[in-house]
Amino acid sequence: MEMAQELHVLAVDDSHVDRKVIERLLEISCCKVTAVESGTRALQYLGLDGEKSSMGIDGLKVNLILTDYSMPGMTGYELLKKIKESSVLSKIPVVIMSSEKILPRIDRYILF
């Protein structure tokens, strides 16, 4: 019987502490994790500027993107927009994490 391949999650969070916790949580759930500190880094990893594929620059396909909402520079929402605008990457599900319950903002995400 063939083993199901491990899911590869790209986690985006500017907090070093949160990245460590997310990595551990996902590890326990048997996911491969790549944690980056910003939306910009995430896009670099996904090769959005260069090669058009959903492979990370180390060749590992990304199955899910988990991102913090509130980050300096590119917010989680802006990252979501960029990913959904890409024909190659738009199929990857994106989950936005936030401690704020701002309904109009949540509605904005669902539009994608």
Binding site: H16, V17, D18, L25
Partner: protein, 177 residues
């Protein structure tokens, strides 16, 4: 003796929770520990203190002289509060929220006073957690059962007999988790 140390560590943790220094997030972090990652929580806490030092410094600097950028102060505190929340630092988090309220009210004195409270809670928690982790580490790395035997063999003849018969029925040491 091992059970006693376990009880002391558990009591310490209960006490930190009851007094509101920590909240259930800390328990969630402990649930992520296993035999392969027995020091995960301590590592996260250490990371929190090294990483957040710069937020504390930057907020301090920003509070020194006007003009005061309350939006920036609020933003820096938001990030610091987020990390504090991630380790379950309840009292620290509460003071952070208070600070943010003063930012919204553009009250610099309120911000300054509250920031002293933030730092106080931050430092107090560090000391308490260092002690707690020492207890936990002591239990995990040292073999109190062996120490008990060794100590008794010097003072109590009866224990010597006991030790000899126990050695005949050697059993496994309990795990550290």
């Amino acid at each position: 003796m091992e059970n006693q140390k376990k009880r002391q560590a558990a009591y310490m943790k209960r006490s930190l929770l009851d007094q509101g220094y920590l909240d259930e997030q800390f328990i969630h972090l402990e649930e992520l520990q296993d035999d392969a990652n027995p020091n995960f929580v301590e590592e996260v806490v250490k990371l929190y203190y090294t990483d957040s030092a710069r937020y504390v410094r930057n907020i301090e600097l920003a509070l020194e002289n006007g003009p005061y950028d309350f939006a920036r102060l609020d933003n820096m505190m938001y990030q610091f509060k987020g990390s504090s929340s991630s380790i379950g630092a309840r009292r620290v988090k509460r003071q952070c929220s208070q600070f943010q309220e003063y930012c919204n009210a553009k009250n610099i004195e309120g911000c300054r006073n509250t920031f002293q409270e933030v730092k106080q809670e931050y430092d107090t928690l560090k000391t308490k957690l260092e002690t707690y982790f020492q207890y936990v580490m002591f239990m995990a790395s040292f073999l109190p059962f062996e120490l008990c035997r060794w100590k008794d063999s010097f003072t109590d003849v009866e224990s010597k007999h006991q030790i000899r018969s126990e050695q005949a029925h050697h059993h496994d040491l309990p795990s550290s988790s």
